[in-house]
């Protein structure tokens, strides 16, 4: 691989002959391509899309709304008029489940994303900027870590009336990020000493850009796994909140309330429980598949074909 002088001279002339302008193979493009080529990622994504379609378009197919009661059919097994059967109150299980799914999908996914983003940002900034920024952020993290999250959520839940689900998502994610953030912080501290970060610094790249361009992508495996786990954690936390009667209030429903009610009748009326539970499992599974594929797409050392 020597480079004789003449060759250098040739190559110094602008433009590479014989090649049209290629699209620059930046990281973004390569990651997207690798993600789409992965079969399980595509499958997971497809399942998620189907779930969303089902949750939002599904109710249109059924004549029943989640508030309707069929007083001719209490606790009936699935039939032609009630596809998933009915509850003890006469509510249509299909309509109720899909309504619950709308809430849980949005709450779960959003809460997971927000909490992981929060963890990444707080952790990376605390790790990258020593001194007062680090101290303040670490103190804040520790404070939230010692406050009993469940108690606060429970106390605050009366505030979450109709329409304030965004606030609910925020509160939910606010109590999920601290542990990850501490991991991110310590990993950032060690990353900061690596030569490629130094190289970027000496190149004149601004610290905030370094965090977004170098630090966070190098933590992407951790962050993606964390986000995937947080989806189920958020749905289940929301579930357990709803179980206790906080969070999503009747007549509105969520997976949590449905599973809570359904578990009582599951033994002799399995349709009240298993449809909800099944959909929850499928959702979490799909999210995990997407997460795995995304992690592999980001990780150049993964052995999967790209």
């Amino acid at each position: 691989m020597t480079l004789p002088e003449e060759e250098v001279a040739e190559e110094l002339t602008p433009g590479v002959p014989g090649r049209g302008p290629r699209r620059a193979p930046s990281r973004g493009r390569v990651v997207v391509r690798r993600f789409l080529r992965s079969r399980q990622g595509a499958a997971g994504l497809a399942v998620l899309v189907v779930m969303f379609l089902l949750a939002f378009a599904g109710p249109l197919l059924s004549p029943w709304s989640y508030t309707d009661r069929d007083f001719t059919a209490f606790l009936q097994p699935p039939s032609a008029s009630h596809w998933f059967g009915t509850l003890q109150t006469g509510a249509d299980v299909y309509a109720v489940t899909l309504r619950g799914m709308q809430k849980s999908l949005i709450v779960g996914l959003l809460a997971a994303l927000v909490s992981t983003a929060l963890a990444a940002l707080v952790g990376a900034f605390a790790g990258y900027f020593p001194g007062w920024a680090d101290r303040t952020l670490t103190w804040l993290t520790d404070l939230l870590l010692v406050l009993p999250a469940f108690l606060i959520l429970a106390i605050m839940s009366p505030v979450f009336g109709e329409g304030t689900w965004a606030l609910f998502v925020l509160m939910l994610s606010l109590f999920l990020w601290m542990v990850t953030s501490k991991i991110v912080r310590s990993m950032t501290v060690s990353l900061k000493r690596r030569e490629f970060i130094q190289a970027a610094r000496f190149m004149g790249v601004r610290p905030v850009t370094i965090i977004f361009r170098h630090v966070l992508p190098n933590l992407s495996s951790l962050l993606i796994v964390d986000a995937t786990l947080n989806v189920s954690a958020a749905i289940l936390t929301e579930t357990s909140l709803s179980y206790f009667g906080f969070g999503i209030q009747p007549p509105d429903v969520s997976f949590g309330t449905l599973i809570a009610d359904g578990s009582k009748t599951a033994v002799y009326a399995p349709w009240t429980f298993w449809f909800v539970a099944g959909l929850l499992v499928v959702t979490v599974l799909a999210v995990n598949l997407v997460g795995d594929a995304l992690r592999d797409a980001f990780d150049p050392t993964s052995t999967r074909p790209r």
Partner: protein, 727 residues
């Protein structure tokens, strides 16, 4: 061919006696991947066999196979006989009785080879007690005498120290002491000096020679450094792709190599005794992965003599001379081309043969090279204002103790007043051993902030008075290439993003085409842009690093050991690339390295650092040919040359002891505690000055030129003994 004539007599192997170790057709497989194939050699008592090869050539696996230290997943075939006793397939109990007693090993990393929680003396005593029925006290006495033998001062006290209290060189001595504790017949040294500095390496090699003389043991010396082998070994085995490709006496292999790989290796090593007038010749490509060996000769794809027949079958070892084997079907052509050029030369037999090997390489390129050399000289002419000027730079680190309330217990003087300047188009090599402050100096310059004391002036701007905009502008003109190419490239970025980052940072568009241009400039394909750094070999990664540094067309390139992580055959390519880029683009380099040979090839001027200060500075030829500072002299004389005859006849200035702690530098001249001149030459009165006054860098020589040395009694001395210019 004529029989080998050896003018200098090496410690002659007693060829009559039975071999200590007889290895026949040794093979090691990990799963389906062969790591070692068909290794055969024998070692006789008192003989030193050098095993050389690049990383991944199977040298260390061979050593582990002999010792029976391979993991159980490895399949070993063939035969290893120690005094006629078969070791392959022997039970662990039998091997345990032999290991440490009949054969022992010295590892590369002496820190991990010693148990940190036991005292050094106890560990050596343990090695004694495992195989000998002696009391604890007797074993301890033996341990102390062994430590004394390997040259550890105050052995009785030091035996009570823990490994972390020993310096790297002392730990390696302790390892050698442990290895010879039971008078073994065979000592295997696996890269024993790779982790050490040159002056320490010279000490350890002396100890090894002494150990060999004391115990009469055979030594297998595994290393990638052809210089180390040249001075120590009697015979050499060159390995490539898991298999020996050339075996012979040191003189045969170095002066009359028959395998193109050996020839290429010898030509690609930078040597302290030859400067930039000789362009290095790298071996093309990189070593094959053992899992995917090319058909036929594994060296075929990289071989300059490659013909169709090479791909048909893997060549066996041909007997090319008495006791000289080479695995090349064209060894006779290689011999003929060397003989042809040797005719025109005069001199002693060894000298002649050595030049033959050298000339055979340079001959086809001679006309082009003359032009290049001239060009290089022209570029070397200093012109204009210095692009970088450092004046009295100081950097201290506080030594803190305490967990909650940190208090300062001392100061590490990492850099204590360093001054130098780099003019436009010039390369300054900053050399020194580890811990001398060269990397700190470089980081201080790169920070572009106000130094603790002193001044850093880059392109005429004082860094203490820079605004953010000016600093950004300077960053654009000053770029850096780091030592470890993998660590300095973000593993999560494609090569395109890596190379385009400086362009984006400084707001230049159209990155796609520029990146393709840069990649071709450093000898890579534009198609490589979408791969990740770990898909490349070491040399290619370093090229990516260089492409990134060149993206903004800088004027000054700061290189932090850019080739020290690379294999010899790859390193030459990168050095050549840097040299040609410099000539083409008019770059200035600040080249930080610990390898003086590399610096001699690339630099115009050199600054030698010792303990945070510059010991000597001057033009490369002046400093290398006639160093004036005793430290430079010792450093240069410690570097092994890949030239057996001269290695044997060279006088080495051995430094005693280790680098003093930068937290407590000696008063006056920092080098005086290890200075051979201070100890032996100077009179009592003259020494007072060394103890009391710290010497400044003053011009030396008549007429006073560029060269300066920080020594009160500087005196020029030729220690490398450059060969007569036969060209």
């Amino acid at each position: 061919m004529t029989p080998a004539t050896t003018p200098e007599t090496a410690p002659a192997p007693t060829s009559a006696s039975a071999p200590v170790l007889d290895v026949r057709d040794l093979g090691v497989c990990f799963g389906d991947v062969p790591a070692v194939r068909g290794v055969s050699f024998e070692v006789r008592p008192g003989e030193v066999l050098g095993v050389v090869g690049e990383s991944g050539s199977g040298k260390s696996v061979t050593a582990s196979a002999i010792m029976g230290l391979l993991p159980s997943s490895a399949r070993v075939s063939g035969s290893v006989r120690l005094h006629g006793r078969e070791l392959v397939g022997a039970r662990d109990k039998e091997l345990n009785a032999l290991r440490g007693r009949a054969m022992s090993m010295v590892f590369q990393d002496p820190l991990s080879a010693l148990t940190p929680v036991y005292r050094v003396g106890d560990q050596i005593a343990e090695a004694v007690r495992v195989h000998q029925r002696v009391t604890k006290e007797q074993a301890m006495v033996k341990a102390v005498s062994l430590l004394d033998l390997v040259g550890i001062p105050h052995p009785a006290e030091r035996a009570l120290a823990f490994p972390h209290e020993f310096s790297g060189g002392m730990r390696q001595r302790a390892m050698i002491a442990m290895a010879i504790a039971n008078d073994p017949d065979l000592v295997i040294c696996d890269e024993p000096t790779t982790a050490l500095d040159v002056t320490i390496q010279a000490q350890v090699l002396e100890v090894l020679k002494k150990a060999r003389d004391e115990t009469g043991a055979a030594i297998i010396m595994i290393t990638h450094d052809l210089g180390v082998v040249a001075g120590l070994a009697d015979r050499v085995l060159v390995m490539y792709a898991g298999r020996p490709v050339e075996v012979g006496t040191v003189d045969d292999v170095y002066y009359r190599p028959r395998m193109p790989y050996t020839v290429g290796l010898l030509r690609s090593i930078p040597r302290v005794d030859r400067g930039a007038q000789r362009r290095l010749e790298p071996i093309e490509g990189s070593p094959p992965s053992p899992a995917a060996l090319p058909p036929g000769c594994p060296f075929g794809p990289r071989c300059p003599l490659h013909v169709g027949a090479c791909d048909e079958a893997e060549p066996p070892l041909f007997e090319t001379g008495p006791g000289h084997l080479a695995a090349c079907i064209r060894w006779e052509d290689e011999a003929a081309s060397q003989a042809e050029t040797a005719v025109s030369e005069t001199g002693t037999a060894a000298e002649e043969a050595g030049t033959a090997a050298e000339e055979a390489g340079t001959r086809p390129r001679a006309p082009a090279e003359a032009g290049e050399a001239e060009e290089a000289k022209e570029a070397a002419v200093p012109r204009g204002e210095p692009v970088l000027r450092v004046e009295g730079l100081v950097k201290d680190y506080p030594l803190l103790r305490g967990a909650v309330f940190k208090r300062r217990v001392g100061t590490v003087h990492a850099v204590a007043g360093v001054s130098f300047a780099i003019r436009e188009g010039e390369t300054l090599g900053l050399v020194g051993e580890s811990g001398c402050g060269k990397t700190t100096t470089l980081l201080e310059i790169l920070e572009l902030a106000r130094p603790q004391r002193g001044r850093v002036v880059v392109f005429g701007h004082d860094t203490a008075r820079l605004g953010p905009a000016e600093r950004m502008a300077i960053r654009r003109d000053m770029q850096v290439v780091f030592q470890d190419p993998l660590a300095s490239l973000d593993p999560r970025m494609t090569v395109h993003d890596v190379v385009a980052e400086p362009l984006r940072t400084h707001g230049l568009g159209d990155t796609g085409r520029r990146v393709a241009e840069l990649l071709t400039l450093v000898g890579l394909e534009p198609e490589h842009a979408e791969r990740y750094p770990q898909d490349f070999s070491g040399g290619q990664r370093q090229r990516i690093g260089i492409a990134r540094a060149l993206a903004l067309e800088p004027r000054l390139l700061v290189l932090d050991e850019p080739v020290s992580a690379l294999d010899v055959s790859i390193q030459a390519g990168v050095i050549n690339l840097l040299a040609s880029l410099k000539a083409r683009l008019g770059l200035s380099y600040l080249f930080v390295a610990h390898d003086l040979a590399v610096v001699r090839h690339i630099a115009d001027r050199v600054a030698v650092m010792y303990l945070g200060r510059i010991a000597e500075i001057g033009s490369v030829d002046a400093v290398y040919d006639a160093p004036a500072h005793p430290y430079t002299q010792a450093l240069l004389s410690a570097i092994p040359l890949p030239d057996p005859a001269r290695e044997r006849s060279r006088r080495r200035i051995l430094l005693e002891g280790d680098l003093p702690s930068p937290a407590h530098p000696p008063s006056g001249c920092r080098f005086r505690t290890r200075c051979p001149k201070f100890r032996t030459v100077l009179t009592e009165d003259e020494r007072v000055l060394c103890v009391e006054a710290e010497p400044d860098v003053l011009p030396v020589g008549e007429p006073a030129g560029d060269q300066g040395a920080a020594c009160h009694y500087a005196e020029k001395l030729d220690v490398v003994q450059p060969r007569r210019n036969s060209r």
